[in-house]
Symmetry: C2
């Protein structure tokens, strides 16, 4: 019996919600197919052109599957085929999709033995391999769907916030922003007055999502701490953001640690206009780019068929 799942892309570091807020999107997504094997161990087959390692110890999905098998305590193995569409390094949660997909897939073939917190803990092992840090702000929306709060990692405290009917436009300019650079550039200390402004916006954003107040969401999509520093690494960021908001987008910012940039819109029409603007601006400066016009994913990783 094999289980096929879709594992969605995610937007972490949601503007003012650096390190704590993320959301899942319907495109792009990865496809993963899992099979329980009598032979212990993990076998990885790549069905894409990213040339990711097939040694399970060096593969994000691989380490998660190994940990899942160990936690389950069974003398079995798992074979996984991965068809990745979320580009590694895009800032759209590519490693989280592999890690979260592997945790959910393993759980399905092992007979639904893990809790939600188990799944997140298992998937964080994959994130640790990919980024060096056990962070959960891509994994959590990837597994649960919608907009999620990670209030704390130690101890793990996950709060699903809302499933807003919003359109998401994402542009992935084909430049490399190394996560380590994006992290190093941040200041260790911030002004208290900026922190206060930021937490006012976070409170407004959470309240906006929970009461479905789109205007409040728009007013609160402002980041006075991380974006002014990190946006330097992303060409055309300011002009793209300004033009997208002029076209009617509620707001947006850097997806994850970049280079992708996302915008939230109330209507598909605005979301499409925003996509055209993004494409034009990156075409203008000669940077190859991919644009996605999509919606917030409400279900997280899901089984597409079992056979």
């Amino acid at each position: 019996m094999s289980i096929k799942i879709k594992s969605p892309g995610t937007v972490a570091n949601l503007v003012c919600g650096f390190d704590i807020l993320g959301l899942a999107i319907n495109e792009p997504y990865d496809i993963m197919e899992f099979e329980l094997t009598d032979q212990p161990g993990v076998i990885i087959e790549n069905r894409d052109d990213f040339n990711l390692p097939t040694d399970p110890e060096k593969n994000v999905a691989g380490v998660v599957l190994l940990a899942a098998l160990e936690k389950a305590g069974v003398n079995k193995g798992i074979k996984v085929s991965i068809e990745k569409h979320i580009k590694p390094g895009s800032g759209l949660g590519s490693s989280a999709a592999s890690a979260a997909g592997a945790a959910v897939g393993a759980n399905k073939v092992l007979g639904n033995i893990f809790s939600q917190d188990d799944l997140i803990q298992l998937a964080m092992i994959g994130e640790k391999l990919a980024t060096g840090v056990k962070h959960a702000d891509n994994i959590t929306p990837c597994i649960l769907g919608g907009v999620t709060l990670i209030r704390s990692i130690h101890p793990l405290d996950i709060v699903p916030l809302a499933n807003p009917d919003l359109f998401v436009t994402v542009v992935h300019p084909q430049i490399e922003v190394r996560t380590s650079d994006a992290r190093q550039i941040l200041r260790k200390q911030v002004f208290l007055k900026d922190a206060i402004k930021q937490w006012g916006n976070i409170a407004g954003l959470v309240a906006g999502f929970m009461s479905n107040d789109k205007a409040l969401i728009g007013r609160s999509l402002e980041d006075v701490i991380i974006e002014p520093v990190r946006s330097i690494l992303i060409p055309a960021f300011d002009v793209v953001k300004t033009k997208c908001k002029e076209a009617g987008a509620l707001g947006g910012g850097i997806s994850g640690s970049g280079p992708s940039v996302f915008m939230l819109s109330e209507t598909e029409d605005i979301a499409r206009k925003v996509g055209v603007i993004m494409k034009e601006e990156y075409d203008k400066i000669g940077i190859e780019n991919y644009v996605y016009v999509t919606t917030i994913n409400k279900n997280g990783v899901e089984v597409v068929n079992s056979e």
Copy 2:
């Protein structure tokens, strides 16, 4: 015709929500009685023993009434009698109760001519006289009731969050904490990692209030930035907080800039036990104290009778 109102005490700087979150409480409260007079100007009569100035230019309610008359553009005056029960300097929004009460009272005798934002702007004039700063985190819950978010002051952006059925225990130890000292002691810069922890808690607290998730409220009532610094000014703070939480309180902290300390509880029984603990601890170290066991005020300033 005179209008009599009740103006409630408030808890600002709600734990992790420094400068942005406040709530109104049912006790203590001030009583104010307003009358429109043909003689222009403002007359203040004190019906309490606080010896607050009766010169309207030097009185928190007075400056608000003068501004309200000017904004209304009428050739009339207002006489106000004030029976204050919220002690000035308690950290329970005494000046805000005068300011917000004056704004609402003026609006009533002038025929409900002001918007909600007008009322808050008028009341901030009183806060400015009292504290030197136009802050709104006591005024807003005082006028609206419940738990309120002040996302921004410039421009004014007020978000009523919730009216939770929670019990509030407050102890006012009779020591002086000068607001200027409480402000000066704060560091101008904070660690980004602490700021992130703080905004995770703020997001959790807002989500907890809006979804009425008491456990989440409890977990999120944690302040890693302001409280560790300011609590030094309040004797017995740590032991009071620890014992109150052991007795079952969800959590709490410094009210405003102190010296009052508040705790939120799910039941009246716990709230009363918490009150006993607070009293015992301050009695033990010989500090005179007042304890209030009350609930969250849901209506804000309200008319008690008109004649």
